[in-house]
Amino acid sequence: MISDIILTTLINGSTYALLAIGFSLIFGVARIVNIAHTAFYMVAAYCIFFGTHRLGMHPVLAMLMALIVVVLLGLICYKLFIEPIREHEAAVLIATIALAMIFQEVMLLIFKGDYRTVPPLVPGYMDLAGVKIGYQQLLTIAAALIILAGVWAFLIKTRLGLAIRSTAQDREVANLMGMNEARVAMLTLAVSVGIAALTGAVVLPLTVLNPHMWMAPLIMMMAVVVLGGLGSLKGSFAGAFILAFSEALVVFLIPKGAFLRESVALSIMILVLLLRPEGLFGVYFEEER
């Protein structure tokens, strides 16, 4: 059973980590609570489905197309809906909820509510420590870890990464040092939704596509981010695996209560917050001056 729990934790944890890091990134840099983050993930999944099933594209090409479409869509949404109200955090939050609902309804109109799937890139499975694990699941774990490493390298090694990190630390000082804070925020949003699109791409073959698929991961993603500490990438990474582990424990130890996995994960989050309000790797944001 231990091997089952570890493998389940790795698979779900890497997906949550990918989503949470993208969400955390844009919050850390621009204080944008992008509720539509997982809706971008859903749009990417539909783009890949459309590319492979309707246009007959190769899955990898469809993934590339999805990435481009979602990043462009993210930038358009930022310019039209978010930038004009950016200084009002509550308004941004509500605007992004509206955006998510719009995406959902548009997908429902185009693709209807039917459930759809795409075939795995690598079909088949292997027996690992007595647990059947699909090659696609292994691929997803590997892809998630590579993407996470890529994001890490991007933030640490590149000039834009440096700009993003410094803006995340102190927007005003970054501005005073000559960085175009608005531009950095826009580019960060592009990176953030790009990660959401990539998550959609790697997770899609494992999941069932429908216009409401953005809701469940949204709750878990926000729980991960809050647990790890708002704006902390390290925290998001750790939080993702902690919550995935708690979910796996519920499913394996209380099978009758498998539907409680999210509730238990959220309870753990609340418990941690009671003991450590800033989250596990909490970042105290300076008061806006």
Partner: protein, 431 residues
Amino acid sequence: MKNLKLLFVIFLAFFLVATTGLPVWSADTIKIGVIGPMNFTQGKGHWNGALMAQDEINAAGGVQVGNKKMKIELVKADSNEFLSMTDATNAMELLLTRNKVDFVVGGFRTEAVLAMQDIAMDYKTIFLGCGAATKKICDRVGEDYDRYKYWFRITPFNNIFLARTNFIHLATVAGIMRKTLGIQKPKVAIVGEKQAWVEAMITAAEATIPKLGMEVAGVWRPSQTATDVTAELSAIQRSGAHIAFTIFSASVGVTFAKQVGELKIPIAQVGINVEAQKDGFWEATGGMGNYVMTMNTYARDVEYNEFTKPFVHGYIKKFGEVPTYTADTHSAILILSEAIKRAGSLDADKIVGELEKTDLTGSSGRLKFDKNHDPVWGPGYLTSLGVQWQDGKLVGVWPNKWKATKDAPEITYKGIVSYKLPPWFIEAYKK
């Protein structure tokens, strides 16, 4: 100028009356509200079945009401009940107050139907349910007849009989396992989504499975919208289960079947999987849903009686797919029109009396109501089918030489074929 103002006021009043839909000019039509989750297959079934009934009745000149013929006019209402209960109740309120329908057919999710039922009863409007299975919905008729007598369930039969039918399917598959693979006491994993209608079935399954010579390996309750059940599947496999007794009405049915197929988990899936009842299931699971068995109302080549084929083939011709059970709005409207004809008026109380006398053989069997306005189950009445996905085709596999009691005659509907165990299951358990 004054006259012009008056003329404007008259025009405005005329416009308001026209758009708020007072039924002054539609007196020669019977308005039937069709309510369901219209963006989903279940709602599409509701609407398509109703459309077929409307076309058939109107083509024959309409419904005889007293000494005049009245045409059927359908009003579509999207209950969005998978996502929002408020949307469902609002849709019902709109049907009854703005559209002023005479009757309502449809509904799917128990939680939503209970709320919509109350609204319809407030307005003393006949509501023919075509989706929700919970017994409690009909029990209300017995508990408070004067209030709930306007409710009748057309399909499916209630969850107690759904469970009973499923246990017969389960025993049939267990019998095949005993006979072909020598598994004397198959272990059964009960896997039910977390929804109200499932509760009673799980309790019944836990009590009945041991009596059928099987063993309960455990109970798993994934969320109805779970997009990943690999953890549950690992646990089920560890439990040594041979059969997964599934109770699914939502998307988890696709997830579960797909992941069982992908990982070749050695279990046979038997039970209810509403998603597997649809033609789109094969595509939705990418072919991984092969060998899934579910109960269903219709299958492409299976005939209960002489009325099944014309309905199923007519439906396929018109809508390009096999009807799901919610398309029995077709039967609902035919039964209703017969009751109206007999009552000779649109008076709800008179029609209730006539509906209670219903004894009609339709495309899915013979329909008769019990005292709670629930359809009667059993041989000679409604039985439903056991269907299985076999290499991309949904075929009927039950009833196949089924005897309801020792002395009862064998029942096999026309077009039934043999059940098949998944090859990877046979591989895992062959001696």
